[in-house]
C-alpha cells in the first residue's frame, strides 16, 4: 500500500471538508442573512462578535443545545435517516472537483476519476432521497407535498443539467474534471476565451453556445439545490416549512447545512466547468512583451507553495462570488408557480440545451478551431 498517497488523501479530505467546506457553509448562511438584509435596507445580524462574524458559532450552539424532539406520529427510523442523507451527497460531490493546482507536488483534487462529471451528477441526484424520505417519514401533509414536489423537480431539471454540459465534453473530449480545467488553462475559459489562441474568431463563436450552456446549467443548479426562485419543496408561504416542517434542533440544522453545502458544491462545479477552475491568468509585461502569466504550484521552493495556495484561494474566491450571485438572485426574484417551473424545465431549458448541443457540435465539426 502506498502510505504517502493514503496520508495525503486523508489530509486533503480533512482539509477540504473541515477546514474549507464546513466553515464556508456556516459563513454562507451568515452572508445570506447579511446580504439579504442589505438588499432589504436592513443591517442583519451584527451583534455577535465584530460585525456579527461570530453569529454562525452562536447559531450552531443554539442548534446543539436545543431539545432533540421527535414527534410521536413520525416513522422513527426514516425520520432519523433523512437528515443524514441530506448532508452526505452534498459533501461527497466535492471529492472529484479540482480545487487547486498542486501543493508540495500533491495534486489538489481528492479523487481524479475519469468519469468526473458523471460522478457529480450521480451523487447529486442521490441528494433527493434525504428530502423525499423526510417528507414521507414526517407523516404529515405539508412535508409530504414538499417531498413529492422535490422528487419531480429534481428529475425534471437533471435533464437540462446533463444536456447543458455536453458541449464541453464535445470540445474537451474528456469527462475528467482536471482535464477540463487544463483545457481551459491552455485555451481560455469556456465562456470567456481570452487567452491561448484568443484571436481566432471561432473561439468567440464557440463562446456563444458555451454561454447558453452556462446559463442553463446555472439555472438547473438553482433548481437542483432548491434555491429561490425554485424553492418549491420548502416554500414557506405555501407549505409552512416544506419537507423539514416536522424537524427541529440539530436534525433541522443538518437539512439547512446540507442545502448550503449543495449550493457550494454546485457553485464549485460551475466554476470548474465554465469559469476556469482554479486558473487566474495574470497579465505580465516582461522582456518578450505582453503575455498571460500562469501561476501554479510547479515552481520550486516557497514560490511553488505560494502559487498553490494562490490557486486554492482563487478557486474558492470564484465560488464565493458565485454564492453571492446565488443569494442576490434569491432576494430578487419571486417564486415560480409549480406548473411554470415544470414548463420552464421541460419546454424551454430542455429544448434550448438540446439545440445548443447541435450548434456547438456543428461549430466544432466544421470550423477550424
Amino acid at each position: 500500500m502506498d502510505y504517502y498517497f493514503i496520508i495525503t488523501t486523508l489530509m486533503k479530505i480533512v482539509g477540504v471538508v473541515f477546514l474549507i467546506i464546513l466553515p464556508m457553509v456556516s459563513y454562507t448562511v451568515y452572508a445570506e442573512r447579511r446580504v439579504s438584509a442589505l438588499i432589504q435596507d436592513r443591517l442583519g445580524p451584527n451583534r455577535v462578535g465584530p460585525a456579527g462574524l461570530l453569529q454562525p458559532v452562536a447559531d450552531a450552539l443554539k442548534f446543539i443545545l436545543k431539545e432533540d424532539f421527535t414527534p410521536a406520529h413520525v416513522n422513527k427510523f426514516y425520520y432519523w435517516l433523512a437528515p443524514c442523507l441530506a448532508m452526505v451527497p452534498a459533501i461527497a460531490t466535492i471529492a472529484v472537483v479540482p480545487f487547486g493546482s498542486t501543493l508540495f507536488g500533491v495534486p489538489m483534487v481528492i479523487a481524479d476519476i475519469n468519469v468526473g462529471v458523471l460522478y457529480v451528477f450521480a451523487i447529486a441526484s442521490l441528494g433527493v432521497y434525504g428530502i423525499v424520505i423526510a417528507g414521507w417519514a414526517s407523516n404529515s401533509k405539508y412535508p409530504f407535498l414538499g417531498g413529492v414536489r422535490s422528487s419531480s423537480q429534481m428529475i425534471s431539471y437533471e435533464l437540462s443539467l446533463g444536456l447543458a454540459v455536453i458541449p464541453i465534453f464535445i470540445l474537451v473530449g474528456q469527462l475528467r474534471l482536471t482535464e477540463i480545467v487544463n483545457y481551459q488553462i491552455a485555451h481560455g475559459w469556456m465562456i470567456a476565451p481570452f487567452i491561448g489562441d484568443w484571436l481566432n474568431p471561432v473561439k468567440w463563436l464557440l463562446a456563444v453556445p458555451m454561454l447558453i450552456s452556462f446559463a442553463v446549467f446555472t439555472v438547473a443548479i438553482f433548481a437542483e439545490t432548491n434555491r429561490l426562485p425554485f424553492d418549491l419543496p420548502e416554500a414557506e408561504t405555501e407549505l409552512v416549512g416544506g419537507y423539514h416542517t416536522e424537524y427541529g434542533s440539530m436534525k433541522f440544522a443538518l437539512f439547512f447545512l446540507g442545502e448550503y453545502a449543495a449550493m457550494i458544491t454546485g457553485a464549485a462545479i460551475i466554476v470548474t466547468l465554465f469559469l476556469g477552475g482554479w486558473h487566474l491568468p495574470v497579465p505580465w509585461w516582461g522582456a518578450e512583451g505582453f503575455q498571460w502569466l500562469l501561476i501554479n504550484g510547479d515552481a520550486p521552493g516557497w514560490r511553488g507553495v505560494l502559487g498553490g495556495l494562490f490557486n486554492i484561494a482563487t478557486f474558492f474566491a470564484k465560488v464565493a462570488v458565485l454564492l453571492i450571485v446565488f443569494i442576490w438572485v434569491r432576494w430578487t426574484l419571486p417564486r415560480f408557480r409549480y406548473d411554470q417551473l415544470m414548463r420552464l424545465g421541460w419546454v424551454f431549458f430542455f429544448e434550448i440545451a438540446l439545440v445548443n448541443i447541435f450548434v456547438a457540435a456543428l461549430i466544432i465539426a466544421y470550423l477550424p478551431l
Binding site: N114, A122, V128, V132, W136, E158
Partner: protein
C-alpha cells in the same frame, strides 16, 4: 483489501435485495432497492467498469428509483396488512427459486475458468468511458439509434397513457 470490499458490497447488495421482497412497506422496499443498486454499482467499480457503475447510480439511483418512490407516494400505497399466506403457493415459490439457484450453482461450478482471478489490465488507468463510447458509436451505431427511437416512443407512450382516463 479489494477482496474484503467485494464481500462487503456483495453482502450489502444481497441483504438489501432480499429486504426488497421481505418488506411489507413499499417505500421501505424501494429504499432497500436503492441501497442494493448502490452495492451493485460498487461491484461494477470493483470490476474496473467505472462508467457502468456511475451510470448505474445515475440512472437507477437518481432517476428510476426516484420515479418508483414518486409513484408509490402518489398512489398512497400503505403497508400491506399481514394477509393469510397460501402456504402451498408460498412453499412452491420458494422451492422453484431454490431449484433455480441450485441450477445456476451447478452451471457456474462446471464453468471453465470459474476459479480464475481477474487478469491484470495492460493499462490500469484505461479510460473506459472512451472505450465504451467508441464502441457504442462505431460498432453499435444502429442499435444505439434504435434505442434512441425506443426512448422517444416510450416518452410519447407515457404521455398518452397518463393523459387518457382509463375506464
Amino acid at each position: 483489501m479489494p477482496a474484503l470490499l467485494f464481500w462487503i458490497f456483495a453482502a450489502a447488495m444481497l441483504v438489501f435485495g432480499a429486504a426488497v421482497i421481505i418488506n411489507r412497506n413499499p417505500v421501505a422496499s424501494a429504499l432497500s432497492l436503492v441501497i442494493s443498486f448502490l452495492g451493485l454499482a460498487a461491484l461494477f467499480m470493483s470490476l474496473d467498469a467505472y462508467f457502468i457503475g456511475i451510470i448505474q447510480v445515475l440512472v437507477y439511483g437518481g432517476a428510476v428509483m426516484v420515479l418508483f418512490l414518486f409513484i408509490i407516494m402518489l398512489l398512497d400505497l400503505r403497508a400491506e396488512k399481514a394477509r393469510r399466506i397460501n402456504m402451498v403457493a408460498f412453499a412452491g415459490g420458494i422451492a422453484v427459486a431454490l431449484a433455480l439457484f441450485v441450477q445456476i450453482y451447478l452451471v457456474v461450478s462446471q464453468l471453465r475458468g470459474a476459479n480464475a482471478t481477474a487478469p491484470a489490465l495492460a493499462d490500469p488507468a484505461a479510460d473506459d468511458v472512451r472505450g465504451v463510447g467508441l464502441l457504442l458509436f462505431e460498432s453499435y451505431n444502429l442499435p444505439f439509434q434504435i434505442i434512441a427511437v425506443l426512448v422517444l416512443v416510450v416518452t410519447i407512450g407515457v404521455i398518452v397513457l397518463s393523459k387518457r382516463e382509463l375506464r
